[in-house]
Symmetry: C2
Subunit: 380 residues, 2 copies
């Protein structure tokens, strides 16, 4: 019996990719902002409904460059402990101090009610995460930032294609909030370019700076304005990304189907909780969810088994879930000594990290796969 992996990459048709590769080979231009790179930036901007988008070679480097682009050179950055570790690493690489704030139990996102208490005279920015693709309370966060003159960078690694309904009723990409949003196109994501990522910003001037910073800080052939990094996306990944963009709507629709099947079954299982937005795929909360992940929360006493026992039991049945995000970033060696990393400061995040399993979730899960996953979590 094959293992059911937690994710499986969306792959473009190889024959179509090969036609693009022939064009690249013909031009002998394989990286450094070639024509496919330009095409993909335009195509993604259009698809996502954003104005300025810069491609990157993976999902971590845009986080690092975002802080650099906002010229945040020293101080404290308020962030979530309930995320992939790259979120905090980006703060570290920019010589800044992470200040961890607890999350909202309904979403896993940073709790806006707790942000203001964490602001000091050294605070310079807020770096929240749209966890599992569920939007943060962007209006409240942006209001707090405005009041305290802070920059806001949204880690939207999970949030490809997520849209929110604004007050006037119009739908907008979640990437349009904050000063900059950063997104990942890693193999494991809803949309992938093998490895890749992007920054979304709101002015031509900022995009120009970001494009310079991802190319060593070169302003032109003979001027380097800042210690940039190399984060260029190459032509092969860009071509691959163009093809994947044509099938990502279908992939998201397939994910939604999986999510609905899971939800139906889990509602019958005592001791497994879901974030409230999952059942309506965000519709009741005013957003369109992309089903980037499917987190379940084990209530040990009701379920009669610990999270780790279930995780191991699933594994024995070939169902490879992931305890995502366990352990909390704040428990890792580089961060555990910050005073805000104290578990007492982060009771909700700590609880979520100890209860969560992300079920297999991708576009290619079959009905048989889904049945096997459900069977593995139904307690016998």
């Amino acid at each position: 019996m094959n293992n059911i992996t937690v994710t499986s990459p969306l792959l473009p048709n190889l024959e179509e990719l090969n036609q693009y590769l022939e064009q690249i080979w013909e031009k002998k231009w394989i990286t450094n902002m070639g024509t496919f790179h330009q095409e993909l930036e335009l195509a993604l901007s259009r698809y996502l409904g954003v104005e300025y988008l810069s491609l990157f070679t993976n999902g971590t480097l845009p986080l690092i460059t975002a802080l650099q682009a906002l010229d945040i050179r020293e101080g404290e950055v308020i962030t979530s402990p309930y995320s992939f570790v790259a979120t905090s690493h980006a703060i570290w690489w920019n010589h800044l101090t992470p200040m961890f704030v607890d999350v909202d139990p309904a979403t896993g996102n940073i709790d806006p009610n707790k942000i203001e208490a964490a602001i000091t005279d050294k605070t310079v920015a807020i770096l929240p995460v749209h966890c599992y693709g569920c939007p943060c309370d962007v209006e409240r966060i942006d209001a707090i930032a405005k009041k305290h003159h802070l920059k806001v960078i949204y880690d939207a690694a999970h949030a490809f294609g997520v849209r929110v309904q604004a007050r006037e009723g119009a739908w907008a990409s979640i990437l349009n909030f904050g000063d900059i949003s950063t997104i990942s196109f890693h193999a494991t994501k809803v949309y992938n370019t093998i490895e890749g990522g992007a920054l979304v910003c709101h002015s031509a001037e900022m995009k120009r700076l970001i494009d310079q910073l991802k190319n060593f800080g070169f302003e032109d052939e003979t001027v380097v304005l800042a210690p940039g990094i190399n984060s260029k996306m190459d032509e092969v990944r860009s071509a691959y990304g163009l093809l994947n963009l044509q099938q990502v709507d279908d992939a998201i629709a397939a994910r939604k189907r999986v999510a609905k099947r899971y939800t139906e079954a889990i509602k019958q299982i005592k001791g497994i909780d879901l974030f409230p937005y999952i059942e309506s795929l965000g519709a009741e909360q005013g957003f369109e969810w992309n089903c980037a992940y499917y987190p379940i929360l084990i209530n040990e006493s009701e379920y009669g088994m610990t999270r780790d026992e279930l995780y191991e039991k699933m594994k024995l049945q070939g169902v490879l879930g992931r305890r995502y995000f366990y352990p909390l970033i704040t428990t890792f060696e580089p961060y555990r000594d910050f005073h805000t990393a104290d578990p007492k400061n982060l009771p909700i995040a700590t609880e979520l990290a100890n209860r969560v399993i992300c079920l297999p979730m991708h576009h290619a899960l079959t009905d048989t796969d889904i049945d096997r996953v459900i069977k593995a979590i139904v307690k016998l």
Copy 2:
């Protein structure tokens, strides 16, 4: 008339690449240290004659990770101003201070005679560059480092396949010197993986640490030991790299042929100087040069034209040279205020930067191309 570009990427056969892509698509494992990644690490180690090699996604990130892997957390790093700007950027990203030391006029490499004068009680490492693929005086540099308890990281971005004759007469890869060597597989290099790079180190323990640092610092699924970065090379680039390795010997042979034709012609031109190692391709200096670049040095008064005039004249004739490395790193905004960046401290590097043009140099130059390049620099 087509332009003759300064470089042109070595491209694998597309049909062969496609066979590898089919295997990757079949496995649905497109990044995160898959089988092609493992194969390429082994194949490159064997080809280059090194024991421990870790692949990276580009040529800049290994420089950054090398300093991190050696646990150099504060202090000064002695380096060359005559290099691509990524060399100094790596020092900056590691929160360290670059100390610029002048170069040897015979090689463009850091001058060992001047290193000791630059050592202070804050010096922690030396980061020399094997400029254009010409080896640094590794024995003297390593002796100085030993005496002063400094780490040595060689920026071997240009030095793919370069070997040196050790005292006993045996030939060894230049990558075997220092604590760590870092190499680039960018499109423009002798050997490329589209974008890519590697670190070479000398113990299984160090390789293990490097492999963790390039993967966010993960020691295992639940332990993050340091603020690593994402520098993973993907499966497509790894497969591409395996194919390119099969043809890189031919590519280097083709480069040597071009270099010999250039040298023959340039010896007849008054006012153009060559580094002494170029005529014998390093043989007289005890090394095997890879012809990574072909730098010429304009003597304005003898040649009767400035370097920039020649550069522009070549361009008009469709011969795209590059003033590589002009301007010096030390003239760029992030570095110009360091006291060691003063041009008075760097007279040789300053002179080289003002005299150099790298001629078109790659495996695919035809006799007609070579004739055109030569015609463009023969003064009429």
